[in-house]
Amino acid sequence: MDVDYLRAALRDGAELARRPEPDLYDRVLARRRRSVRRRRAALAAGLSTLLVGIAIPVGLTTLVGGGESRPDGVASPPAIPYADIYGVPARGSLAGDAAFVEAIRRLPWTDQATQPGTLPGESSLPDAPLETRSVVFAGDVTGGRWALVVGQNTAQPTGPAADPDLTDLGSLSDIALAWFVGPPGASPDQMALVTVPHGIPADQPTSLYDQFSGALVVVAAPGDRIEISPRPEVEADATVNRTYADTNSTDGTAVLAVDPNPYSAGGLPAVKYRITREGIPVAQQNPDSYGGANPEPPPAIALDYLRPPNYLLPDHLGGNQEQQLAEQIVTLYGLPADQISFQVHYVGPLPGPTAARVQLAVVTAVLPSGAVFTDAFWLQETLLSDGTPTGANGASCAEELAPAGLPPAQRIIAMRCEVATGNQTGPAPESTLVVIAPEGAPDRSLMVEADGGRTTILTGAAGGVSLTPFPEGAEVVTVETGDGTVIEEVPIIGP
């Protein structure tokens, strides 16, 4: 597989995409109107929700004015003073160990895991000549020993590929870096290359993070201010903030131990760092991570099952998805699992567009502030035409961060779940209104009003889970007394 073949295959594969629906424009506007109505309904219900799963694009330089999604630092930032981060003497607790530093400098920059590819046109990886190398950082960190080496960038692109508008600015730089990691007290020959060597501008900071140990090293210029935010903070009213603490670094490096996350849920870590130079922001980002699965898998997270789970899929296809959802929430908020209480509202079947089984899991997490995060995810087995299962795929139904209030077990949850098939000629997605209700008053009714009229979801005191074809146009589920008085409006969350 060379790059040309890959490009051609992707072009051919993309042609498999359907044509856009002729009424796509109308659908988009209708969806926007529904979204506005849903927000108004949420506000009316006193539940100002924050949809955390929808990313606001950053760096939108085409935006004007001070819109609410305008990212920090976009508006004509002042020029960042130049500082040579990598041309200074070695830093770190082992920087004074000349023999160790010299041995680290001599470690090879290639190994089996980072061998350059053989694709024609694929850029090769830098392998700095020994005489150009220097050790920038060498030190003991939580759970190990780390070192950062820089040297001449031998993989600078040439010709058209060197266009700075089209290629990586780091690859055009004169220097390249490589991180090495070893166990506690490691000798130089126990230090292993753990990152792909790559070019980096001389004034651009770098970092390395190990989620399982919590070790974090940030390398900036001497005099730079390095601040750390270990996690986002969720207030009781469901607002999300970050607090950055100064690491009091003086030599431009910060060696830190943040709370480890033992779960291999993937994704960006909760921790972020921020660097300022002479008061001017230089960087604010998640650190680069390395590592794979946790060699010591943690015990399962304690979950409170409000109803008995009804598993349709085996564990190896993700059937125990409520546990994975809990791990992902722990990763998202960077908190120890025992600081979050989890409730499993439902694990069971969900209607799908084909004969393939679909399993839905609905989990809530009460964060330390009392704010409640609701997460719902469906999994659908994938089948060959003869019905042989080949795996499972899935997607999120809904995510919502709601203010503190009623315990989740006493809340009504309403969401729209849309299950799609990947088959080009397959049926349309199946859309379901999922309503999960605790016990209530004997004369109550849960109703939904939609384009086709009013539908009764549930009546009487008994709680339960209702799965009904989604009534188009529905925005809220109302809770009514026997005389028709509306006592609560529950916004329908989801796409």
Binding site: P20, R31, Q285
Partner: protein, 172 residues
């Protein structure tokens, strides 16, 4: 939006949604999800349409919204794919493999969403590493490493899917 802006947005949807849907399909590997992703991105864009100064950059704007939305799923694994260890041998697989692009699409489908997004942006949209990093809001080093690992994974998958490799014996 004013009526003129509304008309401009309508024209944009009509003229560029097919190309955007192709990107969405590569990002998601699923027709339904691709359509949903595009609708979501267009809905968000419609909210900001009157703030978009450079209308020539609108395609890139929507693409960025799609990628960010999709990779927010990466952060929380919002879309996942689990596979059985060994695929059963059936004529359906052979038929699929007969299409030149099918093995690559299958290999692409093995990648986590973020890694898949990087491969799509780099090799379908032909973005440079810096622009890909800007779109994804990650470091260039992450783009480099994810590209390298993504291609390596695809190569492994393609090699394993090649019948001749199955017959290859281990060197003594």
């Amino acid at each position: 939006m004013s009526s003129a802006e509304d008309e401009q947005f309508r024209e944009f949807v009509a003229s560029r949604s097919a190309a955007l849907l192709r990107v969405a399909f590569l990002l998601t590997g699923d027709h339904g999800h691709a359509e949903d992703l595009l609708q979501t991105a267009l809905m968000k864009t419609s909210r900001r349409w009157d703030h978009l100064v450079d209308r020539d950059a609108c395609y890139a704007y929507v693409r960025r919204v799609m990628v960010n939305t999709q990779t927010s799923w990466l952060r929380r694994r919002r879309v996942i794919e689990n596979y059985v260890d060994v695929l059963p041998e059936t004529t359906e697989q052979v038929d699929d493999a007969s299409d030149a692009h099918a093995p690559v699409m299958l290999a692409l489908g093995q990648l986590p969403p973020g890694m898949r997004a990087i491969v799509v942006l780099r090799f379908y949209e032909d973005l440079g590493e810096a622009e890909t990093a800007r779109v994804l809001g990650c470091s260039i080093g992450t783009v480099k490493s994810q590209t390298s690992r993504g291609l390596a994974r695809m190569r492994v998958h393609l090699t394993e899917a090649t019948p001749s490799s199955a017959a290859r014996r281990e060197e003594p």
